[in-house]
Structure formats: C-alpha cells, structure tokens
C-alpha cells in the first residue's frame, strides 16, 4: 500500500540539489531528431525576428504617418502589418507542427526505451518495485520530460533569440535608455536562483506522491475481491485518502512556489517601465534630442515584449526543474542493470539434446543468505526429474536458476555441456518450456493465450495442442469457443482451466526442456484426471524437470531429488527411495501412501475418455464400488 516506500522509491527527497547530470543523457532521445529540431528552431527564429517588426510598424504609424497626416502611408503601414502577421502565423503553424511531431516521436521513443528495458530487467527488480510505481514512471515522468523537450527546449532557444533581437533593437534605438532598462535583469536572476532548491524539492515530492497514489490504486484494484470480501472499504478509503492528502500537500507546496514566479517577474517588468519613463523623461527634460515621446512609447512597448520571453523563460526554468526530477526517475530505471545479462560474446544455443546438469550450485536472493548450498542435479535427455521436498527447501529457486531468472553465485548450470551464462537468454529460453504454478492469463482471446507459446502457430495447431492437454472440451463450451475473450488474469476461468491453458501454451512451444512447477490447486476430479493425462503427454519426448506434487508424476519420474534446506538430501527412483527408508519414505507415507495407482485409475479414465470422444459432456457416472 502507498505508505510502504520500498525499493527504488526509497530515497532522500530533501537531497540538497537537483541532479542536472541526468539532463544531458536526454541527448540520446533528442539526437535522432536534431534536423527537425533545427528546422523548428529556424522557424522560431524567423517568427521572433518578424515579431519585432510589428512594434516598429506601430511606431512608424504613430510617430510618422499619423502626425504627418499621411493617410496613404498609414494604410500602407497597416496593410504591411497585417501581411507580416499572416506570414508569422503561417510560420507558426509549420513550426508547431514540426515541433509536436518531433515531441511526440521523442515521447514515443522514450516509452519504447523504457518498455524495452523493463523486458530485460530481472525479476529481482520486480520483486522490489511495485507495479504502480513502475507505471507511474513510464507514463507520468515521461510526460513531464516531454514537456521540457517539446515546449521547453524550443521555447528556451526561441525566447533567447527573441530577447537578443529585442535588446539589439533597443540598444540601437537608444543606448542609454536601453542600459537603464536592462539594470533590472540581475534582479530577475536573483529571484529565480533563490527559489530553485525549494522548487526542486517540491517537485521531487510531487512525483513521488503521484507514484504512491498509483501504487495504492494498482493494488487496490487488483485485490478488489479481497477488499470486498473482508469489508475493508472504509479502512482502505482512509488509507487512500491519506496518500491522496500527502499528494495534495506536495502539490500545494509546489503551487505556492510557482505562484510566486509570475508576480515577481511582473513587478520587475513594471520596475523596468518605471525606469524608462523616469529616465526617458529626465533625458527629455535635459533636451536630449534622441529621446522623443515616440521613443518612450516604443520602449514601453518593447519592455512588454522583452518580458514576454522572460516570463516564458521562467516557465521553462520551471519545466527544467520538473524535468530534472523526472529524468532522475526515468534514468533510475534505464540505468538499472538487468541482474541477468547476455555476455558480450554470448553464443546462440541451437537445437539441443536436453541434457541438464547442476554442478555445486550455490545461490541466494540476498547476499550472504544462500538458499541453495551446493546443489548437484542431472537430467539426461528425455528424462523426467521430480523435485520434492518441504516448502521453502529451495525447489523453486532451482527452477528459477535453470530459467536464468537469476544467476548462480557459485558453481554452474550446464545445458548440453554449455554453461547457460555463455549463451544468449533468448536462445536459452526458447529451448525451455516453463509452466509456472501461478498461471498468468493475459487479456485477449483463449486462442491468443495459447498462441503465446509459439506465435506462428496455426489455428489447427492451437486446437491440436488444446486437444492433447484436454482443454479443447471446455474451450469449445465457452460462449465464443477459442475466440472467447478472457479478461485480465483470466477471471471467470477456474484455476484448473487456467492450468490446462498454460499446459497447451507450453505444449505448443514444444520445448526440449520442460520446467514445471506443479500446482495441485483445488481442481475437481475430472479436471485432475485431465491434468494428469495432459502431463503424461507433456513429459513425452523431452527432458522434464518438475516440482512434483502428484504421486503419478513422482512415480513416473526417472529420478527423484529430495530437496531439504537447500541441498539434495536423497536421490533415486521411487522404489529405491522407499527401500532406503529415509526422508522420502516419510514424506511419501504422509502424503501419498494411499494415493491412486495410475493403472488402477485407467478404467475410470477410459470411461471418461469414451464420453468425451462421444461428444457428450462428461458426467461422472456411477460405478460399482471398488474393493478396498
């Protein structure tokens, strides 16, 4: 929930200063578009240069045309003014289009880079950072960076050009007056500079509070069924309200500082105007011929125009501060090294036999806390290996290592004699079929979910796979069959059905090595039977490593590894281990001693099979009681 700040979002908000060092890294997103940016910049420069012509024309009208009573001249000036404005607007449209196009493309590539990097990051990253927090960075922070790039950077440059142009005109018109006006600029810097640290801190807090909200929301929504089952609405609403309130507070602090910016700039601008009037008037009183009422009016006009870009610049500065904070957060992800990476010279793992060896593997999720202490396991091609042992013994870790979700600390894991760290992750995992206990169903059709195993599979192949694992039957009974939309996490499919789908997915992938974390969740008798049949099919003709809970699986395994406290306690097949009378025998007696013998169940299975084949919905028919 929101109040638990974990992983990457733990850190000191009150860090003294902004880390501008991240901003140059944005270069990689900007460089591909440098020509577009330059074009936009050129347009912007043209616009600002032309914009200075406007007041000149107004001045001409007021100072020259009107006093001299030259109506034709006035008409000409007015028309020129309109003509230039039309031209400026045409440039504006082009510039805006180029800029938004570029901005959107940069935004696109930034999201893409983040998403791509997220695919590479190891599971340890996901263990640490809540989903909502990651999402908040990919959407919110990227958006805030985009604002800097698309409006900020360009605005910065055009405003600087405009400023320069206006200052030039002012200086050329009257140097003394211009210098007097510009004395207010240092004051401006002082104001902006003093607010800087506090604003950075405020924005950092804002971004983090937004991530808190996202994290809280994400979990609340995913777990809504539990929330309602336990009548937690009130408590959760209060907790959310707390998180929300903290965000409100953070936003308010930022708003307060931001609200200071504009009035300050306006006051300084008025100070400039006052200076022009006062000093200009003084010059006039001294009979300085270079200062006329027209000059002062023009200068007052320029003063307004001079402060427009300055006002914008403070806004850009504000954006830079925000973007600085956001880029910290974005690059924190982009610079997190995946815990498992391809070596420089990693090889492609081609077609393999399926020989798997663990040699003295030592591993721990946290440094100094090993969960596996020197594990040795071997699976020859086409063998089925069962891993059994108490909860927390390290079975799942063994599987995680073979999939290379994590890398071993010591020892090695070999596939066909090759260290799995020497081959590319992609080629390794292509050869592995992994069925996790926690079956994950994506929103999409049933067909899409099975196809996930092999993207180029035809509809026939998909149905074939479903048929083999015994899922075809229930799928065809769904409202739209294979095209039935299953929602996020497969709601409304039962756990058993989801398992069958994940089997079909794995079967379709047709891997040389199958890794299975057997879930024996509550499934009814018929589904259990289907699952057992499916497993037999799955194990055929490939190396299988299974965290086994079913007696049928264990008995059919070529070798059973009994894992206890991160070590292999016993190895052997079922009979050998029973005969040995060790840990396995104890486990077996407690759990499986009376379990169905596979052959014994064949008869029933046949009955069911016939019913399925006959096209009728399988019902469980009464049958004479078995002799005990």
């Amino acid at each position: 929930m929101g109040r638990f700040h974990r992983g990457l979002d733990v850190g000191n908000i009150d860090r003294k200063d902004i880390n501008f060092s991240h901003l140059p890294k944005l270069k990689r997103f900007v460089t591909p578009f440098k020509w577009y940016l330059l074009l936009a910049l050129a347009l912007a420069v043209a616009i600002s240069l032309l914009s200075t012509v406007g007041p000149l024309l107004v001045r001409r009208a007021i100072d020259v045309d009107i006093p001299s009573g030259d109506f034709n001249g006035l008409s000409k000036t007015a028309l020129t003014y309109l003509g230039i404005m039309l031209f400026i607007e045409v440039l504006h449209v082009s510039q805006r289009y180029v800029m938004s196009w570029t901005g959107q493309h940069m935004l696109y590539s930034m999201r893409r880079a983040l998403f791509s990097h997220l695919q590479d990051l190891g599971l340890d990253f996901y263990d640490k950072l809540q989903v909502g927090r990651i999402m908040s960075r990919v959407t919110g922070d990227v958006e805030s960076l985009n604002q800097l790039i698309s409006s900020g950077v360009l605005g910065l440059l055009t405003d600087l050009v405009t400023l320069f142009a206006i200052v030039t005109v002012m200086v050329r018109m009257n140097l003394r007056l211009a210098l007097a006006t510009l004395t207010v600029v240092p004051l401006l810097f002082l104001v902006v500079w003093t607010l800087r640290t506090r604003m950075t801190r405020a924005y950092r807090r804002v971004r983090r509070r937004i991530a808190d909200i996202a994290a809280n929301l994400q979990e609340s929504i995913s777990g809504m069924r539990i929330v309602q089952a336990f009548s937690r609405e009130e408590v959760n609403a209060e907790k959310f309200s707390d998180t929300n309130y903290e965000s409100f507070q953070a936003q308010l602090e930022a708003a307060r500082l931001h609200a200071l910016f504009h009035p300050m700039v306006d006051i300084i601008s008025a100070l400039g105007s006052a200076l022009i009037v006062y000093y200009g008037g003084l010059r006039m009183s001294w009979h300085d011929p270079t200062v006329t009422v027209g000059t002062i009016v023009a200068f007052l006009n320029y003063m307004t125009r001079f402060f427009w870009p300055i006002r914008n610049l403070t806004e850009v500065y504000n954006l830079i501060l925000q973007a600085g904070v956001s880029s910290e957060r974005v690059f924190e992800i982009l610079e997190t090294k995946p815990n498992v990476q391809d070596k420089e010279d990693a090889l492609e793992l081609g077609e393999i036999e399926g020989h798997v060896e663990f040699n003295n593997v030592v591993f721990g999720y946290e440094p100094g806390l090993p969960v596996l202490h020197g594990v040795n396991i071997e699976a020859k091609p086409n063998e089925t290996i069962a891993l059994v042992g108490p909860t927390g013994a390290g079975k799942s870790s063994i599987i995680n290592l073979l999939c290379r979700f994590y890398d071993v600390d010591q020892g090695e894991i070999l596939v066909d004699g090759m260290d799995i760290r020497d081959v590319t992750l992609e080629s390794l995992r292509r050869n592995l079929g992994i069925v996790l206990q926690d079956t994950f169903i994506f929103s999409g059709t049933v067909r899409d979910n099975i196809r996930y195993g092999r993207l180029d599979a035809t509809d026939e192949e998909i149905e074939e796979a479903a048929r083999i694992v015994g899922a075809h039957d229930f799928i065809s009974r769904l409202p739209d069959g294979y095209d039935t939309e299953v929602r996020e996490r497969g709601s409304r499919l039962s756990v058993g059905q989801r398992q069958l789908l994940s089997f079909a997915r794995a079967l379709l992938a047709d891997p040389r090595i199958l890794i299975l974390d057997e879930a024996t969740s509550s499934v009814d008798a018929y589904t259990e039977y289907l699952i057992q049949k499916a497993l037999e099919k799955l194990f055929q003709g490939r190396t299988s490593i299974v965290i086994a809970h079913r007696l049928s699986t264990i008995r059919n395994a070529d070798r059973i590894y009994v894992i206890e406290d991160g070590q292999v306690a016993e190895v052997g097949n079922h009979e050998e281990l029973i005969a040995k009378g060790g840990l396995y025998k104890t486990l077996y007696e407690k759990q499986f001693a009376g379990a169905p013998l596979v052959e014994e169940r064949e008869h029933e299975a046949d009955t069911l099979d016939r019913e399925v084949a006959g096209g009728t919905k399988p019902t469980l028919r009464p049958r004479p009681e078995h002799a005990g």
Binding site: L79, Q228, A229, Q251, L252, V277, S522, P596
Partner: protein, 596 residues
Amino acid sequence: MKVLRRLLKFAAPYWTRYMLAIALVFAISGLNLLEPMVIKWVIDEILESKNYTLLLYGALAILGVAILKGVLQFFQRFSMSWAGQKVVFDIRNTLYRHLQQLSFSFYDKAQTGQIMSRVTSDVETAQRFLSNGLVQIISISVTFTATLIMMLSHHTKLTFMAMIPVPFLAWRVQVYSTQVRPMFWNIQQQLAVLTARLQENITGQRVVKAFARKDYEMDIFECDNMALLERNVKAERLSGVNWALMRLLTEISLGIILWYGGWQVISGSITYGTLVAFNMWLGQLLGPIRRLGFWVSMVQRTIASGERIFEILDTKAEVDDRPGAKPMPPVQGSVTFEDVSFSYDGDHMVIDGINLDAKPGQTIAVLGGTGSGKSTLINLIPRFYDVTEGRILIDGIDVRDVTLESLRRQIGIVTQETFLFSASLRDNIAYGKPEATDQEVMEAAKAAHIHDFITSLPQGYDSVIGERGVGLSGGQKQRVAIARALLMDARILLLDESTSSVDVETEMRIQEAFSRLLEDRTAFVIAQRLSTVRNADWIIVLDKGSIAEQGTHEELLNKGGIYTSIYNLQFRPQEILFEDTEQARLEDAASQGGGN
C-alpha cells in the same frame, strides 16, 4: 457542457475560495485597466506637456500599481491552485470509494490499467482546468468585459471597428470545439490502453520472460504506442491550424485600430493619447485572446476526461445496500437458499433453482465438476453477486435487506486464489480486522501454522510482502490467507479448499487448521479433502447449476450416483490413508501400485 457543470459541482464546496479568487481577478483587472491610464497620464500630462517635476511620481505610480497587482496575483493564483488541488483530492477520493463499491461483475470486465489511467491521468487533466484553467478563463472574461466597457465608453465606433473579427472568431471556436473533443477522448482512451498494456506486461513479467517473448510484447506495445503518437499528432495538427487562425483574427483587430484610429487622429476626432491607450487596451484584450485556442482546447480536453471520470462514477454498483437496509444482527448461522437462480448475462443460468437449508454449525460440502457453479453458489452468500431469482436467508433475513458491510463482516472467506497485499505480514493477517491486537494476530497465525515461519524471518511480523506475494511460497501465502480468515472469527465460513503446493507436513497442519476453523461455524466448503467431505453434515453435488444429489456421505455412497463416482475417483485413495494406518497395509498398497 453537462460534464463541465458536474465537474464544477465538485468545486462548489470551495466556492468561498473561488469567490475570493474571482474578487482578486476583478481587482487585478481593475489594476490592469489602470496601467494604461497611468501610462496615458504620464505621456499626455508629463511628457507631452513637458511637466517634468511630476516625473518621479509618474514612475512610482507605475511601479506601485505593479506591486499591488503582484501581491494580489500571488494570492489569487495560490487560492485557485489550492481549490483546484482540493477538488482533485475530492474527486480521487470519490472515485476510490466508488470503485470499492462496484461489484465483482464490474471487475470481471474491467482492466486495472484502464481504471488507473482514469483515476490518475484524466483526473489530472480535470485539475489543470479546475485550478489554473478556471482562473485564466475567468480572468480573461473579466478583463475582456471590463476592457470592452472601457473602450466603448471612450470611443464606440473605434471599438466596434476593432470587434469586427469577433463573430468569425466565435465561429472558429465553435467548429474547433466540436472537432477536437472526440480527438482528445481518443487520446485519453489510447493512453488508458497503453497503461493497461503496461500494467499487464509488468504483472505477467515472469511469463513474458519464461517464453522469451520480449519481441512480441514490444511489437504490441509499439503498436499501441504508435497509435497514441498518431492520435496526438493529429490533434496537434488541428489545434495548430486553428490557433493560428484565431490569432490572426485578433491581429486584424489591431490592424484596424491602427488604420482607422490613425485616420481618426489625422482627422482630429480623437487625441493622440486616446489612440495609444486604445492600442494598449487592445493589447490587453488580444494577449489573452491570442491564447483562446489554448483555452478552448483545455476545456474540450477537460470535458473528454470528465466524461471518462463520470463513466466510472455513473456505473451503478450492481450489488448495493437497499434504501433503509439495516445492519445484520449478530448471526446465529442458519443459511437458507430458496429457489435460488443466478445468471451472469441474463439468459444463461449458472445457478438454477437451488433449495438448501444449513442449520447453525453445520458444514455443507459442495462438490461438482468444473463449471458446475460451485464458486458462483458460494459467491452469492456474501452478495458478491445478487441472486437473479429466489432469495438467500441468513437467520431468516434476506441478505439483500441488510447492509453489505454488516453482512460481510460476519462471513469469513478463504478464496481459491490467494491475493496478499504488499504490506507487513501483520497487516495482511489483520486485513479483515485492522483493530486486532498483536496477540490476536499471533493466535491466528499459530492456528494456521504460519507463526513459526513468520518468526523465523528477520523482521518477523513486520516483514513486508512484495507485491503479488513475491517472496512467499504458494503454501505460505495460503496459510497467511487462512490466518486472515481465522482472525475474522465469523459465524459463517466460506471455504474454497485449495491444496496448492503445500508439503505433506503443512497439508496435515492445514487440515487441522481447517477443522478447527469449521468447529461451531456454519460452513460452505468447496471440498477437495476426504476428511472434509466425511465430516460434512450435508453434501450437495452440483451439475449444471442444479443440485444433482444431496445427503450425507453414507447416504450418497449407498445411492451409487455421481457422488460415488467422484468419491472413487478423487477421495477413495485418500480414504486408504485415513483408515489403513497400519504400516503393512501401506506398503502393500505401494507395492501393488508398483507391480501393476
């Protein structure tokens, strides 16, 4: 506009803040009008008439007006930001509360990312309008009106001339508004699609990695990413052209003033100072109007986002307290189903005419094939869904007549899927009873046989579980969930017996925990364990949503129907374990298996 009005309703409680801000806007506009007057005065009375002794006062007047204006501006901006953020705070809380009331049927269909996008991104869009936008729009209209009046009072004809482009402007605003709003809606929608995609990808990261599906995921993401880009660029293009057009129309005003006003000065009907002042007034008018396009697009964006927010708020909770619903009195535990039928979609009955009577303290075992309606049946008792026909009574009271909270508080639930929150273990166990003492939490954990494991962790009960329970094995998660239900100490218990991946010892212990859980409680159990079935007071076997068989274990076995068949397939093997405790028999069974 209806959407805007509804959004503004959220702002209503803070009307004093808004009024203050509006008052400040008036004051600021007044000062804005004063500025050119001061300048006009300085030019006409000091510079033109060479009255230089007043120069310092002139300069100070300009500065004084600006300082006053600056102070007012700060308070105006801040009070508006405050109000805007407060409204957002309220909208978020309202959304959150509403989301919690929405029924399971809503979550069956909704995607997490979609909802999140509305609560975050759409609400932020509304916020931009409700704080900054509203200030600006109000201040623009006020300044506009005031300036217009001022101009009219000085020279009517000149003003009318300047206003010539206004009708065209109004027409463009109208056209642009209708065109751009659906575009903004599409953008927000696409953003939500992208968020949902991201959310699923992150949540399913294990599977993505397991199947080495990075490229595939990238392709899908890029497709959505690109769609978002295109929609944005399209809207930007439309906006760009329209904004330029609107700006151009305002420039025409300025041209007219210059040309017509100049002519008036030449012909001597207005003074030079009036023209300069007019020029400045017009500048004040046009400055904000030049940004008109921006404001129009902000309003349209807000309406689009508002629609999406209200789409959630307008979704009725299918299951809700009836008007006048009373709290459920302390439950004795009798549960009665009277002709209960239920359908998710209205035509396909998932539960069909169930009659059932559970007396206090009884255990009802529910059996049946996949899709026979077991889970649905159980979900009807705490009103996760409401019955389509018939009624369910607890202690003779229709469950729909009492408040949801009082009903669910008295029902303990262990679901098939274990969802734990990324909070401490203590908080997870005390989830249904946050006020539970440490002692109670520990008792529950001990009963569920998870206490020893928890105390073995470095931080014990304060250990924070990773999201989706990362770091705990399936069996451990499940025991935490059992402890969670135990702590509720409810009279009615709904149990989905799932035995997912627990080792033998744990299994035995969970059975113990379960049997303790079932004592003295009315329980509905989707049964997987023989012990449960045998000890159940009543067994119902569901088939296609109806009760196919019911009775006690012995009765049903003698009957030789579906139950017998299930029993032989699923439970009989377990029975051997329970009855044949002798070592010899065990070994015999094992060797038989090996022999065949």
